[in-house]
Symmetry: C2
Subunit: 158 residues, 2 copies
């Protein structure tokens, strides 16, 4: 067993899973904040130079999981690890987010697809040389992916 403790809390307009954008691409312009607990704030130095950051967080409303599910963007069941569904064996969420500024331990972020009150586990700078893949195939999503920016969450993973 591996134990983690939150380093902060993510605040967003989304109080309920239902109606949430399912990814940042569907959350253009949605603003939020990340409150970093005081004992970790010294680690934020130099972060503001990065336009984008990777947030890793605990999908705290996840409960249990199924290894085959019908994802939001399809009508057929898919293997869980071939989807971004929130109910996972280790419910860790990942979002690439635009960082607008940092003030007094508060990150101001944009294009947020995260539930209000979500516990933050880690922040990493987004670095295209490391994080952007080229010549990408996206399997079952290739038909479905075009529509993602309009899809919203519903209750299926509550």
């Amino acid at each position: 067993m591996i134990a983690f403790n939150p380093i902060g809390i993510i605040h967003t307009p989304f109080r309920e899973l239902k109606g949430m954008p399912i990814q940042p691409a569907g959350a253009i312009g949605v603003r939020g904040t990340v409150e970093i607990f005081e004992e970790y704030q010294a680690g934020l130095r130099d972060l503001e130079g990065f336009s984008h950051i990777i947030l890793l967080y605990h999908l705290h409303r996840s409960n249990g999981f199924k290894l085959n599910i019908v994802p939001f963007m399809d009508v057929e069941p898919r293997g869980l690890f071939a989807t971004r569904a929130p109910n996972r064996p280790n419910p860790i969420g990942l979002s690439v987010i635009q960082l607008d500024r940092i003030e007094e331990g508060i990150l101001h972020i944009q294009n947020v697809d995260i539930l209000d009150g979500t516990p933050l586990l880690d922040i990493k700078p987004y670095i295209p040389d490391f994080d952007a893949a080229l010549k990408v195939r996206t399997g079952w999503l290739e038909k479905a992916g075009k529509e993602v920016s309009n899809r919203k969450s519903d209750d299926r993973f509550r």
Copy 2:
């Protein structure tokens, strides 16, 4: 406290931190495997259609952290969260990896920058619409970043 359990183990040629590539960009052509524990293998269905996957793993050799560190790619101290250093409050590693094929619960992967024996926490499909940011600034790395593919790890974060 949030508790996670590994869903598999990552196998690579890297037995020691010293001399490891520090990111996939420095590990071109390095092959490895990910062994998924039997009870989770049904969740791998449809994953092979994706050319790239995101691995989240426990940086199990990390011990303790400092909020300001000199990263491999610089000579000045930087805030920890503005770096990808492995010693973090919640030592979760993230790599975007090329997936070659899946055979009997074993993922064959390429461009691997991960230590042998690393516990796997999650697999997500890499989806450019979600995971690739555009118009990116990378702060202190903008001077240093060009050389990353030649840098190797040393003992500083042992």
